[in-house]
Amino acid sequence: MPEQNDSVVMENLVKRFGDFVAVDGLNLEIRKGEVFGFLGPNGAGKSTTIRMLCGLLKPTSGRAQVAGYDVAREPEAVRQNIGYMSQKFSLYNDLTVMENLRLFAGLYSVPSNQLKERIEWALAMANLKGQENLITGTLPGGWKQRLALGCAVLHKPPILFLDEPTSGVDPISRRQFWDLIHQMAKEGVTVFMTTHYMEEAEYCNRLALIFRGKMVALGTPSELKRDSMKGELLLIECEPLGKAVEASQSAPEVMDAAVFGNAMHLVVPDADAAMPRMEKFLADRGISVTHIEKIRPSLEDVFVSLTTASDSAEERKL
């Protein structure tokens, strides 16, 4: 029986395609009302996982429950209890706003006695009242996105799947969109988002980082930034930059050195201790340092650090 609080549960979830293990033993419990982010590079197993959770693909082994229903045994019930939105594919551009809403209401079998009320609700939520007769294809990006969200939740699903919902949209529209999502979460909707855009990941309460079918990190955005980096980050502005990067790569304590705009980023085990040593190391090689500071890693730094660490662990096994 489903646990009351967990609206998406995965237990040793595995999916194989022939010899290829796309999803390799995932264990996760996502709580009701949580905004959860599922992060990973292309090919990490994100889509395969989503397809299993939506009841579209049977797991090879293990199990998953969505809204209390087993995805392998009750896929129909699962599908009635979820909404799905992807920015790119969900709307019909040559239909009007109202026609899209009616179409999705039909697809999701919204009872006809609730149709009017639900469409009114979706229009109000998406802030699209008075725009019902506009052709969807002519709407600005932020509007389309809110319409897609409205279509995905017409049938009041307790669980909402989002696939890169706000990539490329202007920051103000993105912020409005996420306000809506957090409002729904507050009302008890569980949100499961997949993305590889760190700008979207920051809006999640918790994140799981998945790589090669396995979960390599789990935590809040702040926890991941604080605890998951292998090492600390230094930003150094210096001249000449190219020479500095090359030299730094052979410095004993430098784990990684890369150009970043007009500066370089170094990954070191202890930033405070490394600062004076690196300044001297560079000065000894004729490189003048104009600025050096310890910086907080971004989610992207964490992401790259974890996936490359996992990569080299993999290579060592071979």
């Binding site: 982010g37 292309n42 150009v259 007009n262």
Partner: protein, 315 residues
Amino acid sequence: MTDQLKCAIEAEGLTKSFPGVRAVDALGFDVDAGEIFGLVGPDGAGKTTALRMLAGIMPPDAGKATVAGFDVVRNPEGAKHALSYMPQRFGLYEDLTVDENIRFYADLFGVKRAGRKERSAELLEAAGMSEFRKRLAGKLSGGMKQKLGLVCALIHRPKVILLDEPTTGVDPVSRRDFWRILYELAAEGVAILTSTAYLDEAERCHRVALLHQGKLLFCDTPANLKAGMRKGVLSVTSPDPRSLRSVLEHAEGISSLVLTGDGLHVVVDDAARRIPEFEARLKSANVHYDAIQQVAPTIEDLFVDAVGSGASPHA
């Protein structure tokens, strides 16, 4: 003139309208040799239109542009010879291998046979793709396809490259590889104009032009842009960001407040003054928080501050 060319790209008053919309409105900037210049803005900001005009494939309604010293309107052929333009969907032949695609573009660009192999090997090495030379382009991952597009676009050693959202749909690991190649090219003196809809990617450019609805909002180095933001940015962390918001949203001095997954991102007039005020407010409301810290502003903060944090510009 060609040897001592300082500005590899010069744009002045570039303007282009389509029915009902001014896509690019009096855009002006210049890019030096060896510089990575970012055209940064959300979808619909005018980035692609600007790049098309610079590539000489779309005539501007007004204004002028030169690329490598050639006027793109009066001498588009000269300009095309010196530049390489990589549109969002670069035309790779999916049923040809990596090597065959490169050979095809080398022929198309009229690259001499001598030295071709070396150039191709060097670019593939830099892209980390040497071992995939025999693979069909259609079987490559998204990130690999973008890198192959870049390799093809670079085969004739252009002095100027124009890239339209090269990292869209590319995951962070491949994105870093891609940027490493751009930095290497810049170090060789190539001028690079690249567009991106990811404001965080702006930080990787030497200089950026921030675009919004066809207009230039700012043009400077990311560091100068951030230093020029007079407002302070605070990060307040808590396991319950919603309660934080209900306590702080009506506090004084706030120009924007965003609910994130584990806290609030708040832009205030004066960080030093507001931090203790916020702390006091949260304490008296008995709402727990982990930390309030001043953090560096992001390019997104700057964008939102310039465009206005009210309703969406369209709404």
